[in-house]
């Protein structure tokens, strides 16, 4: 079976750190987007059209907020997967260290 190890110990550690940070930060961003925080208005991709031609005044923008929020949650889930892969790499690296000595 070919070795599943494709990155060194430092790269794997970076991977774990970034995934952890990504999961926490993207999850919190998702929560803030779905609770329609005003501070994040610039990050929502709305246009003039959305505001003017709205049948039900804030609902278009709210729908966009929800969409971005869900995007954030999906990205957080992907980072969970990346984190799991990095964790495996760290364990494999440790095992290889033992075998060499």
């Amino acid at each position: 079976m070919p070795s599943l190890l494709f990155c060194g110990p430092k790269m794997a550690a970076c991977g774990i750190v970034i995934s952890l940070w990504g999961v926490i930060m993207l999850a919190m961003l998702g929560i803030f987007f779905t609770s329609k925080s005003a501070v994040l208005i610039e990050d929502v991709p709305f246009t003039e059209d959305d505001i003017r031609n709205d049948k039900n005044p804030p609902q278009n923008v709210y729908a966009l907020y929800n969409q971005v929020g869900i995007n954030c949650f999906i990205a957080a889930a992907i980072y969970v997967a990346v984190g799991a892969v990095s964790l495996c790499q760290v364990r494999l690296n440790k095992r290889q260290e033992y075998m060499v000595t």
């Binding site: 930060m25 961003l29 999906i74």
Partner: protein, 822 residues
């Protein structure tokens, strides 16, 4: 815990060491690391010292150990106790012999192998040419009994020279032969298949076997000389087949024997090295210790009776008991009958400064010491730096998210601080960060706090308590009809419901005039923090004045300094607070500019602008007058006072001299007590003769100090504005990073847009760490450090002292570590 504030009290002590037990006593002291030795023979150079031979022996041992260590690839720890130097010399001789033997054997083996190759290959020449069968040389196959003397064609004798030459040289060799011998020689050659080791360089190289046949004695000589020039290895060429076969058989057996012998030699060598490797590390440490002890013994002087050594040491007063115990232990170990003892002696020299720190305070003490080690028993800024430095850093850094990451990183380092891999890496940059882990932890925690105050987390504000501004109230007031900007006017009812409980209101993150508001706030905050920091520095100087018993400094230096600072800049701070408290949104149109009032205060004009409060003009004139008056007091007060004191004492001195003749004993005691008292206090009364010089110097010194202080007050206050500047830069960089990186990922609208967010986020993370944490962090660190070193410390700290460096084995540098051998 006086030590961290001021440094420990040190005293000069004399050690009387018996000659027999001197070595052991100093060894004990080295283990404990209590005292610093003074050089009692400063005029003697290194080669004239008493123990120079022992030190030479130590260096010899270090050399042997260095060579030993370089032939070993591993070592472990075992105990060895026999006489070190003999052991090492014996080991060196043995190793040398074995290695030389091995080299000789290998050379022998090489020769034999070359000979074998040569015989084999020339045999193939013979085989080859015999097919063609020249008439001129009827060859050995045809006639077994052939002597070279019987080949007499052209009346000349045919001779053979055979050997090996380096492949690189064969062409030149051939050409040279042709030019010199002009056709009287025939050269045949062929390459040897395997790589043979070149004895000089030790690298494998290709050789070529050659066979030269020549006519005539002279040509033979020439050919031999040429072969010598080209460093050929010549071997005798056998004349007939039987001889050749015999030689080949003999060579084979000899080669086999040599292989066996070499194998045995290598085994023996490996055994010797393994045994040595068990103790090499201990030996290195032992030799280091011995050398250090002899250095210290060189610093001691011999007493009159020549039986005991005298050493002078600086010792902390609290450690004298430990010192005594160490000397007793050393005497006991050496089995001396007469104990060594210690005697404290009074001195007028200033001792070095010792400040005991633990793992938390050592970082902060390090950054203070980098500017200058404090004078003996001067106030140490380090305990205050523990709080003010992270605070000033945080004011410039001020982001909750970044502070959190920094604090987590430092927390990880602190948790794993006993992990050997982290402690012992050679990477300089990592070592710097690791040594400062507590500093970074404090900086991170304080940054979290200032991030909450500035309400800035990765450039976004957090709405924890609910904003104090209401947009709906402004909308219902219907004042937006003609406006381009949607302004929230706090004077309209219901718009401003009250201040945000902690920090800046989150609505400012959405405002276009956010920077205008924050700039005003941050600039005023920087000036306020600066004045407080500087006043604190001036107040700390009272500690020094009181400790060194120069009470006149309190009235003539401290008071004018403080009055100057507070009357001018303290009043500015007062005006800032006054404006904040008294003027609200209602009278924002008539709110005065503090800067105009401040300038008018100096120009003594009060008419142009309405006063802030009744009586302002009068108060301002009063403050300016006090500040201006304090300058000459600061400039002239101390020199005049010291001059008066001096002249006064001169007159008193005259009385004392006369009194001395009348009543000897009393005034002698008085004089002695007075002088001893002065020495204890550290102030010195100069000679009566040099009083004039002393005065001028004192006056000049005070003039420089006054100018520096007064001008410094103004420039240093302005210098604190960097707190505003850096925090603005950090906030803007953070904002730009979010807008240009993260927003791109979040605004993606397509189906696959969500996957784009993943790499965008990791790019955002990497850039945050590298630009905002590392670059901005280092920048804020540097500026906070500068504020401490220059603006804070020049109010009270002189930093011209010497650090106490005790004699301790653990502090000795290891030359082996530099070579990476251990």
């Amino acid at each position: 815990m006086d030590s961290l504030l001021r440094g420990e009290e040190l005293c000069l002590a004399q050690l009387f060491l018996q000659s027999g037990s001197a070595y052991d006593c100093i060894s004990e002291l080295g283990e404990l690391g209590l005292v610093e030795f003074r050089d009692l023979n400063p005029s003697v150079n290194a080669f004239q010292r008493k123990h120079v031979n022992e030190i030479k022996n130590c260096e010899e041992m270090e050399r042997i150990l260095g060579e030993l260590a370089s032939t070993l690839s591993f070592c472990c720890n075992h105990r060895v106790s026999v006489c070190l130097q003999e052991q090492l010399q014996r080991l060196e001789v043995e190793l040398g012999e074995v290695t030389r033997n091995k080299e000789k054997l290998q050379k022998n083996l090489l020769e034999l192998r070359e000979y074998t190759h040569m015989l084999r290959i020339t045999h193939s020449f013979v085989q080859r040419t015999s097919e063609v069968s020249y008439e001129e040389f009827p060859f050995l196959e045809k006639d077994t009994v052939m002597d070279y003397s019987s080949m007499q064609r052209l009346g000349a004798k045919l001779g053979f020279i055979s050997g090996l030459i380096q492949r690189a040289k064969i062409e030149a060799f051939e050409r040279m032969l042709w030019r010199v011998c002009k056709g009287y020689t025939i050269l045949s050659y062929a390459e040897v298949d395997e790589y043979l080791e070149d004895p000089e360089t030790g690298e494998p190289s290709k050789s070529i076997v050659f066979l030269i046949s020549y006519w005539g004695e002279q040509i033979g000589q020439k050919v031999k000389k040429i072969s010598d020039c080209y460093h050929c290895h010549l071997y005798p060429y056998p004349t007939n087949n039987d001889e050749r076969n015999d030689v080949v058989e003999g060579l084979k057996t000899r080669i086999q024997d040599l292989h066996t012998v070499l194998h045995r030699t290598e085994d023996y060598l490996r055994q010797v090295l393994m045994k040595a490797s068990e103790s090499v590390y201990t030996w290195v440490i032992q030799v280091k210790k011995i050398k250090a002890i002899y250095y210290i013994l060189n610093l001691c002087s011999l007493d009159v009776t020549n039986k005991c050594l005298i050493a002078e040491v600086w010792c902390p007063v609290n450690d004298i008991a430990n010192l005594r115990r160490a000397l007793e232990e050393g005497s006991r170990k050496s089995g001396a009958t007469v104990p060594s003892f210690v005697n404290r002696i009074p001195t007028s020299d200033t001792p070095p400064s010792l400040i005991r720190t633990n793992k938390f305070t050592s970082g902060f003490q390090g950054i203070v010491d980098a500017y200058g080690v404090g004078n003996y028993r001067e106030v140490n800024p380090a305990p205050f730096t523990i709080i003010t430095f992270p605070f000033l850093f945080a004011v410039m850094f001020g982001d909750l998210g970044h502070g959190l990451i920094m604090a987590l990183f430092a927390f990880w380092m602190v948790l794993y601080e006993n992990n050997r891999k982290l402690k012992n890496t050679r990477n300089e940059i990592w070592n710097t960060f690791f040594e400062g882990r507590y500093i970074i932890l404090m900086m991170g925690l304080f940054s979290i706090y200032t991030g909450l105050i500035y309400n800035d987390c990765f450039s976004k504000s957090l709405n924890i308590f609910g904003s104090g501004w209401s947009v709906k109230a402004m909308f219902t007031a219907e004042m937006w009809n003609g406006n381009r900007f949607l302004t929230l006017d706090p004077n309209v009812t219901g718009v401003f419901k009250g201040p945000y409980p902690l920090g800046i209101d989150p609505i400012w993150n959405l405002a276009t005039n956010r920077l205008t508001f924050l700039n005003s706030y941050k600039m005023k905050m920087s000036v306020i923090i600066g004045i407080i920091h500087m006043s604190f520095g001036v107040i700390l100087s009272t500690y020094n004045h009181l400790h060194f018993r120069k009470k006149h400094n309190l009235y003539l230096v401290f008071l004018p300094e403080l009055l100057f600072l507070l009357c001018l800049f303290g009043y500015l701070v007062f005006m800032i607070f006054y404006k904040w408290l008294v003027f609200s949104a209602k009278d924002s149109r008539e709110a005065p500019s503090i800067l105009i009032h401040f300038i008018n205060m100096f120009l003594m004009q009060g008419d142009g602008v309405p006063p802030l409060y009744p009586g302002q003009t009068g108060l301002q004139i009063f403050l300016v007058v006090i500040a201006v008056l304090s300058v000459p007091v600061l400039l002239l007060g101390k020199p005049i006072y010291l001059n008066w004191l001096h002249n006064g004492s001169q007159r008193l001195g005259m009385y004392r001299v006369r009194g001395y003749e009348r009543v000897r004993r009393n005034s002698e005691e008085e004089l002695y007590l007075m002088r001893a008292n002065d020495m204890e206090e550290g102030s010195s009364h100069s000679d009566l003769s040099s009083s004039g010089d002393h005065e001028a110097e004192e006056f000049l010194h005070q003039a420089i100090h006054t100018i520096e202080y007064c001008l410094g007050c103004v420039s240093n206050t302005a210098s604190y504005l960097r707190l505003w500047a850096l925090s603005l830069a950090h906030a803007q960089l953070s904002d730009v990073l979010w807008a240009m990186v993260m927003r791109v990922g979040l605004r993606m609208d397509t189906r696959l847009g969500v996957l784009f967010l993943v790499p965008v986020f990791s790019l955002f993370a990497v850039l945050t760490v590298s630009i905002l944490l590392v670059m901005e962090g280092l920048s804020a660190f540097l500026h906070a450090l500068r504020l401490h070193w220059v603006e804070f410390q020049n109010k009270f700290y002189s930093g011209t002292g010497v650090k106490f460096s005790p004699f301790s084995f653990s502090l000795l540098p290891s030359s082996f570590e530099h070579d990476g051998l251990l």
